[in-house]
């Protein structure tokens, strides 16, 4: 048997498979298909301070091996999340990685503080900080495109949470040099990084000859973006090996549909793997990928998952 546990900044998870934020809602829907407590961690939809309606529809366009989405961070707001969603996840025994977002660094901090105050906070194994969202003060430019803005968010969130609760900054691949942003986040106190969020894209409806999405542009996801995720993880891991960034764990996400896909991200340097868009195709994809990855490592003769993390850098 392969030892599948993984340790993220001092937190041991039973296995490295997770849902991806926004591709699993907050648990109840997928619990109809598999026991969400069986995941290494359940990553919830990014939650902001107040309830949000999200954007106009249509909100999606299918693309070759993927899709574009422009949801606009629709959600119940942190108060409702803490009152309903987190306690439900705790009640079924899930290990949770809540994802938080904000239009300003103070909003991020407020959401983190409310999360910490939750009676169900015990099920939280870490907090994912979705900095790939628009900064209201900077004409909607996403925080993750600006090292200073990213660092400020990370530092403020870090202050709000107990030291033993790791925070993971979720990076956007839409930057010139992702290692610069990664370095800024880690220096500001991020205990780990999640890579990658969606790529900005757009589709034209050729019947109407106008943008297909209500929000005009959208985030590209799915198997089509996997090479971008592998590249981003590789570059940041490489920078850690070279000492340009302090070494912290990376959670890989982007285009994973099979155990073999997950292995690519892991070999590039990911200590855990999230399955997003593939869940829309196969509701039990996160657990299936876990089974496939386990079998694959077994076949390849590895004793433990940890042995494979970043292995492509030393071969």
């Amino acid at each position: 048997m392969v030892e599948m546990s993984t340790t993220l900044s001092g937190r041991r998870l039973a296995n490295p498979l997770m849902t991806a934020s926004g591709c699993a809602a907050n648990g109840q829907e997928l619990h109809r298909f598999f026991d969400v407590a069986g995941l290494g961690a359940f990553v919830t939809k990014s939650v902001m301070a107040d309830p949000r309606s999200g954007r106009d529809t249509p909100r999606m366009a299918e693309t070759p091996s993927g899709m574009l989405n422009s949801i606009g961070l629709q959600g119940p707001g942190i108060a409702a999340f803490v009152e309903h969603d987190l306690p439900w996840l705790a009640s079924v025994g899930a290990t949770v990685l809540p994802s938080i977002a904000g239009g300003s660094s103070t909003e991020f901090a407020h959401v983190a503080a409310a999360l910490r105050a939750s009676p169900a906070f015990g099920c939280v194994a870490g907090v994912e900080v979705n900095i790939s969202c628009p900064n209201v003060a900077n004409r909607g430019l996403v925080f993750a495109c600006d090292p200073l803005a990213s660092a400020k968010v990370v530092a403020l969130v870090r202050e709000q949470l107990p030291r033993d609760v790791p925070i993971f900054a979720k990076l956007s691949p839409d930057v010139t040099d992702i290692t610069t942003i990664a370095a800024a986040c880690v220096k500001a106190g991020a205990d780990g990084l999640t890579m990658i969020n969606t790529l900005l894209g757009m589709a034209i409806d050729t019947d109407r000859l106008r943008p297909q999405l209500g929000g005009v542009t959208g985030g590209l996801s799915g198997p089509g973006i996997r090479p971008v995720a592998v590249r981003a993880i590789w570059q940041v891991r490489q920078a850690m090996f070279e000492g340009r960034i302090p070494t912290v764990p990376i959670i890989g996400v982007g285009g994973v549909r099979t155990g073999n896909d997950a292995l690519e991200l892991v070999a590039a340097g990911a200590s855990a793997v999230q399955v997003g868009t593939a869940t829309f195709n196969d509701p039990s994809a996160p657990m299936r990928v876990l089974a496939e990855l386990t079998e694959l490592l077994e076949t390849k003769g590895f004793a433990s998952f940890a042995d494979v993390v970043g292995i492509a850098h030393v071969r």
Binding site: Q28, R59, P223
Partner: protein, 303 residues
């Protein structure tokens, strides 16, 4: 009339769902459509009229990732082959063309049953069932359930042309009266279902109007029903990426029991909504705007 809840799904209300590799055991052309019979005993056992199934396109490595949704036309929980589920497919794009071209013994990955069924009246009131194009598909099964409860059932089927009507003969067997309309007059009365609906409601004294079809049609059914003191229950069709409530793409503005408008997921809180709860004013050609008074709507200067 049971009130349709439009609040977020609570744990207690979570319905059972299955995923099955369904064998196609029959496929036949019906007018412009392809009528498929799938062996899916799990879905067949659980489904109620108004619910839908989501079918994967291509094999497990297909580059078409998103499932396609279809109303359940009929279920036979204990057929010769085990339980079967029937769907009526209009091949409009690559995904539906792939599904429509499956042959007997091919396998299709099916998730279902999904969404909320048509609520049934507790009293034996007269009902009108209105189907636009393939939108009639789920109504025959509903008609049978209503008649079993002692309801008088009228059906109104409309389409652009005769080949796009589905189930006219079946309607005659399933109901107490059928009215057919086509835009071009190739079958039944020339015109729209909305031209004949007022008269059908009045003559039957209907208390409930069920509808399934294009959004514009559902809007007019709702207005006509309201004007005649009837309740409209409509099954909507929104672009869906997941069909199971996890992506938030299929939302539309609907008024909840508390009077507030929310962008609700039509795959889990729908596809059946009370017509008078839908914010029809927010719909335009290709989608819906977030009404300014919706919960969490963007504020000026804010998000």
């Amino acid at each position: 009339m049971s009130d349709l809840v439009t609040q977020p799904v609570s744990p207690g209300r979570r319905a059972r769902v299955t995923q099955e590799q369904a064998e196609v055991i029959a496929t036949r052309r019906v007018g412009s459509y392809q009528h498929l019979t799938l062996v899916a005993p799990g879905v067949a056992e659980l489904a109620r009229p108004g619910q839908f199934v989501a079918l994967a396109v291509g094999g497990e490595s297909s580059s078409t990732l998103l499932r396609r949704s279809f109303s359940i036309h009929k279920v036979s929980p204990s057929g010769t082959y085990g339980g079967t589920v029937e769907i009526v497919v209009s091949a409009v794009g690559a995904g539906t063309r792939w599904i429509a071209s499956r042959q007997a013994h091919d396998l299709i990955d099916v998730v279902g049953p999904l969404g909320r069924a048509f609520p049934l009246p507790t009293e034996p009131v007269a009902c009108v069932l209105v189907g636009g194009g393939y939108g009639s598909a789920p109504l025959f099964w509903l008609a049978a359930e209503l008649r079993a409860r002692g309801c008088h059932v009228e059906m109104v089927l409309g389409a652009a042309s005769e080949d796009k009507l589905f189930g006219v003969t079946l309607a005659r067997r399933s109901s107490d009266g059928v009215t057919v309309t086509t835009d071009d007059g190739s079958a039944g009365q020339r015109g729209w279902v909305s031209d004949v609906l007022p008269e059908v409601i009045t003559s039957s004294g209907a208390g409930v109007v069920y509808g399934c079809g294009p959004m514009g049609m559902l809007h007019s059914i709702t207005e006509i029903a309201s004007a005649h003191g009837a309740v409209a229950q409509v099954a909507v069709e929104e672009s869906m990426a997941c069909g199971i409530g996890i992506c938030m793409t299929c939302v539309m503005p609907v008024v909840g029991n508390d009077g507030l408008t929310r962008m609700v997921r039509s795959c889990v809180e729908g596809p059946v909504f009370r017509g008078d709860r839908v914010r029809w004013d927010a719909f335009s050609g290709s989608g819906a705007h977030v009404p300014p008074d919706a919960v969490g709507a963007p504020r000026t200067g804010g998000h």
